[in-house]
């Protein structure tokens, strides 16, 4: 690993921010903290100035127009188009996390994550891959999985889930391919990417590709049910 991963930390709780930073610097020498901020304006400024590789982003950040983390992403993209975002949230509310994911965050982890897992997630995002927690995978399965919410039996005739699986075509962004479903299900069962790869006899890279595609579907899907469903079930 040649160069360090440059990260910015956005969180309005000073104590928590300091904790995250000390945890990261203590146990990962390939990660460098280049900036930190506690509200929307200073975050956007910080990201524009330092252009970090990865921004650890709290979902609830004061300031701006009240959009929190997703507002930071949307406003920062023009200034730092190569920066990636990892949402770090204490909130379980799907409205919050869903908004950040849709704004373009590459993953979501809760603040109760261990330092090692957090560092691993940062590296994963820095390499361009999505970070899926079991909860997020469960959410995806519920929202885009097989035979999902089309409540009426009449619509079940539409052969949505059993389309060609591994053919890498993004025809239907509202439905997971069978392979993606398998990957999501294993992640929801608590498997790491490595274990998923071993279980399905595929490479880790392939797993990461599947996960990234699922994340893109999640971001692009405009299935109204998804948001409504999430709001009702309060998962994510």
């Amino acid at each position: 690993m040649g160069r360090k991963i440059r990260i910015g930390v956005v969180d309005d709780h000073d104590l928590f921010r300091a904790g995250v930073i000390s945890a990261i610097t203590a146990s990962a020498d390939d990660i460098e903290i280049v900036g930190q901020a506690g509200d929307v304006e200073s975050s956007v400024r910080m990201i524009a100035e330092t252009k970090p590789d990865v921004v650890l982003l709290d979902v609830h950040v004061p300031g701006g127009e009240g959009g929190g983390g997703s507002e930071i992403i949307l406003r920062s993209v023009p200034h730092a188009p190569r920066t990636l975002y990892l949402a770090l949230s204490v909130s379980d509310a799907p409205a919050d996390v869903g908004a950040v994911i849709r704004a373009g965050a590459r993953g979501y982890v809760t603040k109760t994550i261990t330092a090692d897992d957090l560092i691993a997630s940062i590296r994963q995002v820095a390499e361009g891959y999505a970070v899926f927690s079991p909860k997020l995978a469960g959410f995806v399965l519920n929202a885009l999985g097989p035979g999902q919410p089309q409540s009426t039996a009449s619509q079940a005739a539409a052969p949505s889930p059993d389309l060609d699986g591994d053919l890498d075509d993004d025809i239907d962004i509202d439905v997971l391919s069978p392979r993606e479903q398998e990957v999501m299900r294993l992640i929801a069962r608590g498997y790491s990417y490595k274990e998923v790869a071993a279980e399905l006899f595929i490479s880790i890279k392939t797993v990461e590709t599947h996960v990234s595609k699922v994340l893109r579907k999640l971001q692009l899907s405009n299935r109204g049910e998804l948001t409504r469903w999430a709001a009702h079930r309060r998962i994510v």
Binding site: D92, P134, A137, N142, G190, R234
Partner: protein
């Protein structure tokens, strides 16, 4: 390479009984007269029998009619002129009906629908017309028709003028009332949250301070508190630790999570809590007694989450539960539930974090996966007499028509895979 084989272990009953929800309050900030509170008491009684409007209106009408007839009879006996008697009766009817109506309107917490209902307007106008007609009839004994109409017109103008004069005061009063109601609601909410935090977070913080030397204990306390608070803030508040009886799903429906069902906020639960709480502790069921016996038709996801919370608290290890799809709990699923609890117990006891529980319902079956990242063990070399795995998981699932599979590899951990077909 052989880890000590898992043994059965029962843990004590846990996490039963949430705090009692406050009584739904009917108080409004308006100070009331004795009469109106009597009327309120009567209508509240009526409402409690779920028999709101028709009976109330009928009874009131009958009562007013009887009283009016009584009044008329008294008038005739006292030798008043007929027209005066009729007019008096009409005024009485108009005023009483108007008043009765008013007390409903004021009390819109009891009768939220009356505020906007058309009947209200019709009845109010009718009572006014009756009253005015009654007054006219009474005075027609002493005045000519023309003079009467002129007088009525003058009276009307006077009423309008007085109305204009008191309008600002009235508007002020109404807006004040709204503000006061909002303030009361805020205060109630605040009190609710305060009592909630007092019962949970403050107690936990006190416990943590007391036991600050014991890192595992502190972590477990924090974890349990976090779970509870999280459920209360964002999730299904029933799932956390309480076992108040409440159901949200139609019978027997299993499959994808419904988009519109349930999702009760904390407030909804607070309102309903007092209606039916069945706090049932430790029934003599054969299972590894962590799980309080679920109510029929309770969503399975809630039952599983509660079971996981119980194991989490007892074993002081975090367990993450992910649910896809939903299904009502039926006795058919009892074996699955207890096997799941057994697997979670084993994972918490012998395995290592992270421990994940994944439940998926749909396609005519329920699947549960319990995964830990411990050292693993040799499945084929279970010593005899270790009931934990053989009996509690494999045997139990087999007897109930389901399947169980245990996968364990050294360095990889253990996964228990349970499948239970649903009878239809």
């Amino acid at each position: 390479m052989d880890e000590p084989v898992r043994t059965n272990r029962s843990t004590k009953e846990n996490g039963v009984g949430g705090p009692a929800a406050p009584e739904p309050s009917y108080d409004s900030p308006l100070r009331r007269t004795t009469l109106s509170s009597l009327v309120d008491a009567a209508s509240r009684l009526r409402e409690s029998q779920r028999n709101v409007r028709p009976a109330t209106v009928g009874v009131v009408t009958a009562l007013v009619g009887v009283l009016a007839v009584g009044l008329a009879v008294w008038g005739v006996m006292a030798g008043l002129p007929d027209r005066v008697v009729v007019g008096l009766a009409m005024v009485f009817i108009g005023v009483t009906i108007g008043w009765a109506q008013m007390s409903f309107v004021m009390d819109d917490q009891l009768h939220p629908e009356t505020h906007t209902s058309r009947i209200t307007i019709v009845v109010t106008v009718a009572s006014m017309v009756t009253t005015i007609a009654g007054v006219l009839v009474m005075f027609s004994t002493v005045l000519h028709l023309v003079a009467l109409i002129q007088g009525a017109a003058a009276g009307l103008v006077m009423i309008v003028a007085i109305g204009v004069i008191i309008a600002p005061w009235w508007i002020n009063l109404v807006s004040d009332l709204g503000m006061q109601r909002a303030r009361t609601a805020r205060e109630e909410l605040r009190a609710d949250i305060a009592s909630r935090l007092h019962d949970s977070v403050l107690q936990t913080l006190a416990l943590i301070q007391m036991q600050s030397g014991d890192a595992t204990k502190v972590a477990a306390l924090a974890r349990a508190q976090e779970r509870e608070l999280r459920e209360w803030l964002y999730g299904d508040p029933e799932a956390a630790a309480s076992s108040m009886g409440m159901t949200g799903r139609p019978a027997g429906a299993c499959g994808p999570a419904p988009t519109g069902v349930a999702a009760m906020g904390p407030s909804a639960v607070a309102g309903q809590g007092s209606a039916g709480q069945t706090v049932s502790a430790g029934s003599p069921m054969a299972g590894p007694g962590v799980v309080p016996p679920p109510d029929a038709q309770e969503p399975l996801s809630r039952v599983v989450k509660r079971a996981a919370a119980g194991v989490e608290d007892a074993m002081e290890k975090p367990i993450e539960v992910v649910v896809v799809g939903e299904c009502a709990y039926t006795p058919n699923l009892e074996a699955l539930l207890y096997a799941t609890v057994e697997a979670m117990n084993n994972a918490a006891k012998h395995g290592a974090a992270p421990i994940s529980v994944y439940m998926e319902a749909g396609g005519g079956r329920v699947q549960v996966f319990v995964r830990d990242h411990g050292g693993g063990f040799d499945v084929n070399r279970l010593p005899a007499g270790h009931l934990g795995v053989k009996e509690s998981i494999l045997g139990r699932m087999k007897r109930s028509g389901g399947t169980a599979e245990i996968v364990s590899r050294p360095g990889w951990g253990t996964e228990v895979r349970l499948t239970q077909p649903l009878r239809s």
